[in-house]
Amino acid sequence: MGIAGQIALQTLAVAGIIVFVVITGFAYSTLLERKLLARMQVRVGPNRAGYIPIPRRGQSERRLLGGVMQPLADAVKLFMKEDLTPTHVDPVVYNLAPMLTVAPAVFSLAVIPWAPRIPWLWELVPDYLGRYEYLAIAPGLNIALLFILAITSIEVYGVVLAGWASNSKYAILGGIRSTAQMISYELSLGLTLLIPVMIAGSLNLNDIVQAQIDSAWFILLQPIAGILFFIGALAELQRAPFDLLEAEQELSSGYNVEYAGMRFAMFMMAEYMKMIIFSAIWATLFLGGYHGPFLDAAPMLGPLYLIIKILFSLFIMIWIRASWPRMRYDQLMDLGWKTLLPIAVLNVIVTGIFIVLAEEGVFDGILNTINGLF
C-alpha cells in the first residue's frame, strides 16, 4: 500500500471514530433535551427504556439513569415504521431532501479541531496526522471557517426542497419561512464570524484557538460578537425562539409534515447534529475551543474540554426553549435585519479600526503604562 493509501485508511479510521461519537452524541442530546426540559417543567421525562438496577437488601431495587436506552428505542421504532411516500409528492426531490439536510451536518464536523498534538496518537497514525499540529478530520484545511459557511448554507436546500416536494400547504409555508430566515441570519452570522478571523488573522480554526490560548477567550474580548453568534446560530438552527418553520402550533410541524419513519428522523437527526456542531463552532471561536487547564501536560483533555463546552451551549439552548415563546415571522426578520445586522456591521468596523490602531502602535503607550503599574 502506498503512502496515499495509508493516509486514506488512517483518515477513514479517525473520521469514523469522530463521526460515530457525534452521531451517538446526537442521539443522546435528544435524551438530554427531553430530560432537562422535563426537569425544568416539573416532570420526570423518559424513564422507562433501560436503567441500571442497583439491588438493595430487603427493598425493591433502585433504578439509576432511567431512560438511558430511550434514544435506541426511538431509533428502533422509527426504523420499524413504514417508509411512506405519499402519492402527491415529487418522489425524487422528496427522497433527496432528507439526505441533503443530514449530509452537510456531518460534513461540517470535518474541520473542528479536537485537541492539540497528542504524542501517542501521532505515532499511531503518522502518515495522516504527522504533518499537522492538531487533531481534526481534515486538519489541513486552512479555509475552515469558509468551508463551514459554505456547507451550512447548503443545508437550507434540504428544508426548502422538503417543503416544496411535499406538495402540501403547511410544508410549503414552513419551507418559505426557513428560506427567508436562514438567508437573513446567515449575513449577521457571517459578519460575527469575521471577528475571530480578524483578531487571529487566519481562517484556520486551530489558529483561532491558538490565538485565544495566547491572549484570552474571544468571548471576553468580544462579548457582543459571541452573543450575536449564539443568537444567529439559534436562528440558523431553527431552535426556539426562532423555530418558526416547524412551528407545531401554527403549521402543525411545517416542512416535515409529510415525512414519516426514518426520513422524518433524518430531519431530526440533522437538527440535533447541527446543534452539536454549532455549539462546537461557538466553543471553538469564542470559548477557547479545546483550551483548558493542564492542557500542556495532558493533551488528551482537549476533546473533553470541547465536549464540556458543547454541553454548556446545549444546556443554554434547551433552557431558552423551556422559557421563551416563539417569535413571529416578521418580528424575526425585523430582529435579523434591523437589529442584529447593524450591530454586527458596526462591530466589525470598530474592531477593524482598533486592530489597525493597535498595529500602528497607538496603544503601545497605554499598554506600557499599564504594564508599568503592575
Binding site: 416539573v42 409555508l173 412551528a247 407545531e248 402550533q249 402543525s252 415563546p325 413571529r328 415571522y329 418580528q331
Partner: protein, 418 residues
C-alpha cells in the same frame, strides 16, 4: 356560521369557501392560497375548522366552520327530567362544568320559585370560583403553549390538578361532577374540604406570580400579544362578546356585579378592566381575575361557619330524602321513588338566568310546561359568540397571530357545538 358582513370584514360564506376548496386553488387572486386549518390541528382548541384565504402568511379571509362536536344537548334535555338534564350541562363547557351546572340549576330553581340555603350558596360560590381559576389555568397553559412557551403549560396544569382533586373530594368526580342539585347540593362537603381550600389559598398567589414571571414582562411575549387582535369596546359590544374579551376592551361588564346571583353582592371584589383590547389586555384581565377569585373564595370561606348546617332545601318534593331515612319513613320512600322515577314537576312558564362563567356570559333559558321535563332548554354559550368575532380580530394579521387570538378568546368547542 356565516362570516360577518359589513365594512370591517369581507363577505364570504362557508359555502363559498367550501366551493373554492372543492375546486382546489381556484380563487380570484391567483397569488392567494386556501388553507383548511383544522378540524385536526394542534392549536384550534378542539375540533374547530378555520378556512383561511392566505396571501403569503397574511390572512385575507377567514371563516370558522363549526359543528364537528355537535351532541344535541338542548334537544336531548327535552326528554329528560330536570335532574337528569343536569348531567348533560357538564359536557358542554368541559373546562368549567361547575359553572354550567350552576347556570342550569339556578334557572331550574327560578322556575320552581325556590332558593337554596345559604351554606349551599356559599359552597357553590367557592366551587364556581375554583372552577374559574382552573379554567383560566387551562386557558393560560394552552394559550401560552400556542405561543410555544411550554413551561407555563405544565406549571398551570400542576395547580389545576389540585383544584380537580378538591372537586373529586366533594363530588366524587374530577371534571363531570354534577354536584349542584336543584335546591342545594348532592351532599355536604367533606371535613377535609376546608383545609384543602385554605391551603390552596395560601400557595396560589405565589404560583400566579410564577406564571407572570415567565410571561408578563417577557419581551417576546409582549411582542406577540401587544397590538394583536385589537377590538374596540363598541365593536366588542356589537359582536356580543362577553367575559374577559369584553373587559379587555375597556367595558366594565361582569354579571356578578351587574346582576348579582348567589351571594356575590355580599362579597367584595373588583372587576379587572383593561383598555387596549388586544391579546395582552385579555391576558392581564384573566390573570387579575384569578387573584380576585381567590379573594372571593377567602371571603366565602370566612362566611361559611356562620351559614348554618343546612346544605339542602327542606322540601321533599324537590330534594330527595337522605338515604338514612329510607328505612324508617314511608313518606321518604315514596318521595325517593317518585323523584327518581318521574322527577319533580315544574310549573308552566319560563326562567332565564345569566351567570358569569369563566368565558363570559352563560345564559340558560328553560321553558316548563307543567310536566317533569322541560319543554325547551336553550343555552347562550359565551364561546360561541366570542368565536364569531375571530374573523374581525384576525383580519390582515399573520397565521401566527391567529393562533394567539384563538388562544386569547378562550373558546371551548364543546360549548360552541353543544
Amino acid at each position: 356560521m356565516l362570516a360577518p358582513s359589513g365594512d370591517t370584514v369581507a363577505e364570504i360564506t362557508v359555502e363559498e369557501l367550501r366551493a373554492k376548496m372543492g375546486t382546489l386553488m381556484e380563487i380570484e387572486d391567483e397569488e392567494h392560497m386556501l388553507l383548511s386549518m383544522g378540524p385536526q390541528h394542534p392549536s384550534t382548541h378542539g375540533v374547530l375548522r378555520l378556512l383561511l384565504e392566505l396571501d403569503g402568511e397574511r390572512i385575507v379571509n377567514l371563516a370558522p366552520d363549526i359543528g364537528f362536536l355537535h351532541t344535541g344537548v338542548e334537544k336531548s334535555m327535552e326528554s329528560k327530567t330536570y335532574t337528569k338534564g343536569l348531567v348533560m350541562t357538564d359536557r358542554m363547557d368541559y373546562l368549567a362544568p361547575m359553572s354550567n351546572n350552576l347556570g342550569y340549576i339556578l334557572a331550574v330553581e327560578k322556575l320552581l320559585g325556590v332558593e337554596s340555603p345559604p351554606r349551599a350558596q356559599l359552597i357553590r360560590m367557592i366551587l364556581v370560583e375554583l372552577q374559574r381559576i382552573s379554567s383560566h389555568l387551562v386557558w393560560l397553559g394552552t394559550s401560552a403553549l400556542d405561543l410555544a412557551a411550554m413551561t407555563v403549560f405544565l406549571y398551570a396544569f400542576r395547580e389545576r390538578e389540585y383544584i380537580l382533586d378538591v372537586f373529586e373530594m366533594v363530588a366524587g368526580q374530577r371534571m363531570m361532577g354534577s354536584y349542584f342539585r336543584p335546591g342545594g347540593l348532592w351532599r355536604d362537603v367533606p371535613e377535609e374540604f376546608e383545609d384543602a381550600v385554605r391551603q390552596f389559598l395560601d400557595f396560589m398567589p405565589s404560583r400566579i406570580d410564577d406564571y407572570e414571571g415567565l410571561l408578563t414582562n417577557n419581551p417576546i411575549f409582549l411582542k406577540r400579544t401587544k397590538d394583536v387582535g385589537v377590538i374596540s369596546g363598541e365593536d366588542a359590544i356589537q359582536w356580543g362578546m362577553t367575559g374577559a374579551c369584553l373587559r379587555g376592551s375597556g367595558v366594565d361588564w361582569d354579571i356578578r356585579k351587574k346582576f348579582p346571583y348567589l351571594k356575590y353582592d355580599e362579597v367584595e371584589f373588583d372587576v379587572p378592566v383593561e383598555h387596549e383590547g388586544d391579546v395582552y389586555a385579555r391576558y392581564s384581565c384573566r390573570m387579575r381575575e384569578m387573584r380576585e377569585s381567590l379573594r372571593i373564595i377567602q371571603q366565602c370561606m370566612d362566611m361559611l361557619p356562620k351559614a348554618g348546617k343546612e346544605f339542602n332545601l327542606n322540601d321533599p318534593k324537590i330534594v330527595p330524602p337522605p338515604r338514612s331515612t329510607l328505612g324508617q319513613s314511608m313518606e321518604a320512600v315514596i318521595h325517593h321513588f317518585k323523584l327518581w322515577t318521574e322527577g319533580f314537576k315544574a310549573p308552566e312558564g319560563y326562567a332565564k338566568v345569566s351567570i358569569e362563567s369563566p368565558r363570559g356570559e352563560f345564559m340558560c333559558y328553560i321553558r316548563g310546561d307543567g310536566s317533569a321535563k322541560p319543554a325547551r332548554v336553550h343555552f347562550r354559550t359565551p364561546s360561541y359568540v366570542n368565536l364569531a368575532a375571530i374573523p374581525v380580530l384576525s383580519k390582515d394579521l399573520y397565521v401566527a397571530d391567529l393562533i394567539a387570538i384563538i388562544g386569547s378568546t378562550d373558546i371551548v368547542l364543546g360549548e360552541i357545538d353543544r
